[in-house]
Symmetry: C2
Subunit: 355 residues, 2 copies
DNA sequence: CTGAAAGCGCTTACAG
DNA sequence: CTGAAAGCGCTTACAG
C-alpha cells in the first residue's frame, strides 16, 4: 500500500523497497548492500556499512526471502507433517520443533495429514513445491517414502527404532512402557489392562511389548487388551469395554495421554475410584496429564531433546546415511497410580490481583 | 540429490527439474508449460496440453514456488501470530485457520510471540521478509500496529469489538459470558466468583462485564474476583485463593478453559465437590473442556466460523476499510454446572479390536 | 494457438 | 574495498 504502482502495473508485484533503493540512497552498488546484509562474502569498509545500514533503516528495507531463496536454492524452511495436529503430544512436539528450528533461523511449515495417505501425499507435494530444505515426518506412512524420491533430507520424528538408510528419532518406548507398568505392579496391582492404538509401524507396538515385559517379569498374566484410536474418545470407549469385560481389573496402562484422559472420564462417570479401585498410567506426559483428575502417572517423552535431535539430524552433512536417535522417557509419579501427588509442578504463579 | 551439478556448481541451487526441461521434452516453449500449469492466461490446444502433462509427470516436475512468488509478488502464504501456541484454544483456532486457508490454496506460517512485544516484533519482521500476503494477529499488542506500517492486510482474530479502520474478528464475549453466568444463577447459585486474566485490550474485559451483568440482573452482588494468567496454573492458584477468601462461594466462572481446568484440579484436591459445593463454568469450549472431570459447562466459541471469517476478511478487496465480524458463542451444558451430562458428545468410536 | 524476451529481487563469481 | 553483470525459475505482455 505504501508507494505507488498499484495503477500502472496491475499484474506485477506490489512495489516495495528493494536493495537497489537502499543502494541508491547509500550511494553504493547493490552488491555492497548484499555484503552488508549477509555480512559477507566480501568485506565492507565500516564507514560504507554504516551508510548502508542507515539507508536500510530509513527506508524500512526488508530483504525479499523469495528472491533470496530462488537464488540460493535454499528457503530456510522445513516441512513438518503430522497425523493429528490437535493431539497435545504433537502440539507440544511441534512447539519444540519450531523453537529448535527458530534458533537456527528456520521456519517450519506444518501440514496435517488427518491420518490419510492421500492427503499426506498432496501435502508432501505442496511442501516440496515450496522448496522446503528438509522434511520432518510423524505419520504412519512416512516409512513408505524412499528418501531419494522426496529429494530432500527427511527425518521420521516419532519412530521407535532405526530403519536402515533412514533418519529416525524417537523415545525408548519399550523400556519406558515397561518401567511405568512395573511401577503399577509395584503398587500391588495384578491385573493391568492395556489400552493401545494402531501405530501403523508393524506389530507389535513397543509400548505393548514393554507392558507385556513388565507383567511377565512379575509373573503376571498379560491382559486384557483393547485396541482403539489414539483419542480421548478411544480411551473412553476402551475403559468401558475393559470394565465390562474384566471384573478383576485393578490397573490400566494407556498408550497415550489422550486415551488415558478419556479412560479417566469413563472411570469417573461409573464411580470407579482412581487409584483406589483402578490405577491408571499412560505414555507421553503432556501438560494435560498433569491437570487431569486425578493427575496421571506417566512415561514422559522428552520433547525438547527429541526436537533438537531431529533438527540436528536434518542439518548434518552425513544425513545421507541412516541413523537413529533414541531418547529415554522419564517416569513421572502422580496420583493416578497411588503415589502421593505433590500438587502442581509449576507453582510459580502470581495472582495478578485479588479482590 | 537427483540429477547432477553437485560438484561443479557448489554455490548454486541444487539442480532440479525445471519448466524448461519439461518444455524441451514436450517440444514446446516454456511459456506453454506455464499456460498448462496455470490453466491460462493463454489457451493451449488440448493435444499440446496433454503432451506437456505427460512430460511433467514423467520428469516429476514440481513448480518452484519461490520463483513464482518472486515474479507474481504473492506467496499465497499468510502469517499468524499468537501469544501462546500451546493453549488448546489457539491450537484449535489455528487448526481451523489452516483448514480455511488450505481450502483457498494458502499456507499459514505460525509465530509464537510468547506474550512478548519484542519477540512479536521480530516475528512480524521475519514474516514480512517472507513476503506473507496477509497477517493474522491474536496478540494483545496487535492493535498497536498501524495497518499501513505493516504494509499487508491485517486481521485481529481474537478481538472482542470493532476498531475504526481495522479488521477484527471475535466472539460476542460479553453476551456469551452473561448467558453462561445467568445459567449458573438459574441453578440457584448466589455467590459466583470470577477468575479472569489480563487480555490487554483495555479494561474491562467483556467477559467480566458479562459476568457482572448477569449477577446484577439477578439482583446479586458481583464478586469475588481474582486476576491470574490465562493458564492452568493461574486457574489453580485462583481457585485456592477464592476458596480461602470466600466461604460462601458456590460457583465460579473462568475466563478461559485452561483456568477452569486448573481450578477444577484445586477443587478436586481440596475435596470440594463440583457441582454440588461449587459449580464451575468457563469461556472457550475447547475439546479439553469436554474431558475434564467433571466435564465443563461452557460458552463455546465457534472457531470454524471465526476462522473462515478471518480468512475471508483478509482476501476481500475492501480490506482497506475497517470491519468487525462478531460471532455468537454457544452455551454447552455439561455436568460442572449441575446439569446432567449425557456422556461424550462424539460417541462414534470403534473399538479396533478387543481381546 | 505458440515463441522469444523481459524482469521479479536477490547473490556472487569476475574484473577493476 | 567496490561495481557491472549473469542467472536462479518463473509469468506475461508482445509479436507472430
Amino acid at each position: 500500500m505504501a508507494t505507488s504502482g498499484e495503477g500502472d502495473m496491475p499484474t506485477q508485484a506490489r512495489r516495495s523497497v528493494t536493495r537497489s533503493d537502499v543502494a541508491r540512497l547509500a550511494g553504493v552498488s547493490s552488491a555492497v548492500v548484499s555484503y552488508v546484509v549477509n555480512d559477507g562474502p566480501r568485506p565492507v569498509a565500516e564507514k560504507t556499512a554504516k551508510r548502508v545500514r542507515e539507508a536500510m533503516e530509513k527506508l524500512g528495507y526488508v530483504p525479499n526471502a523469495s528472491a533470496r531463496a530462488l537464488r540460493r536454492g535454499k528457503t530456510e524452511t522445513i516441512g513438518l507433517i503430522i497425523g493429528d495436529s490437535l493431539n497435545p503430544f504433537f502440539v507440544q512436539y511441534t512447539f519444540e520443533l519450531v523453537t529448535a528450528a527458530a534458533a537456527r533461523g528456520k521456519q517450519i511449515l506444518i501440514g496435517d495429514s488427518r491420518q490419510s495417505k492421500t492427503v499426506e501425499k498432496s501435502i508432501v507435494e505442496e511442501l516440496l513445491s515450496r522448496q522446503v530444505d528438509g522434511l520432518l515426518l510423524a505419520s504412519p506412512f512416512a516409512r513408505h517414502y524412499n528418501a531419494d524420491v522426496l529429494g530432500v533430507p527427511t527425518v521420521l520424528i516419532d519412530y521407535p527404532g532405526g530403519i536402515p538408510g533412514r533418519l529416525t528419532v524417537g523415545s525408548a518406548a519399550e523400556a519406558g512402557a515397561e518401567e511405568v507398568v512395573a511401577h503399577l505392579v509395584s503398587h500391588g496391582r495384578t491385573r493391568v489392562g492395556l489400552v493401545i492404538g494402531d501405530h501403523g509401524f508393524g506389530n507389535p507396538d513397543p509400548r505393548e511389548r514393554g507392558w507385556r515385559n513388565a507383567l511377565v517379569a512379575a509373573g503376571l498374566a498379560p491382559g486384557p487388551v483393547v485396541r482403539v484410536p489414539f483419542s480421548r474418545e478411544g480411551g473412553y470407549a476402551a475403559a468401558k469395554a475393559l470394565l465390562d469385560e474384566d471384573p478383576n481389573l485393578d490397573a490400566l496402562f494407556a498408550s497415550n495421554d489422550l486415551q488415558a484422559i478419556g479412560a479417566l472420564r469413563a472411570l469417573n462417570e461409573r464411580g470407579v475410584r482412581v487409584p483406589e479401585d483402578v490405577a491408571v498410567a499412560s505414555f507421553d506426559g503432556t501438560k494435560e496429564s498433569e491437570f487431569s483428575w486425578p493427575p496421571l502417572t506417566v512415561a514422559k517423552q522428552q520433547l525438547d531433546l527429541l526436537a533438537a535431535g531431529a533438527i540436528r539430524l536434518l542439518e548434518e552433512p552425513s544425513s545421507a546415511m541412516g541413523r537413529h536417535l533414541q531418547i529415554d522417557t522419564i517416569l513421572v509419579r502422580r496420583a493416578s497410580c497411588g503415589c502421593d501427588d505433590g500438587g502442581v509442578e509449576h507453582p510459580s504463579v502470581d495472582l495478578i490481583a485479588a479482590i
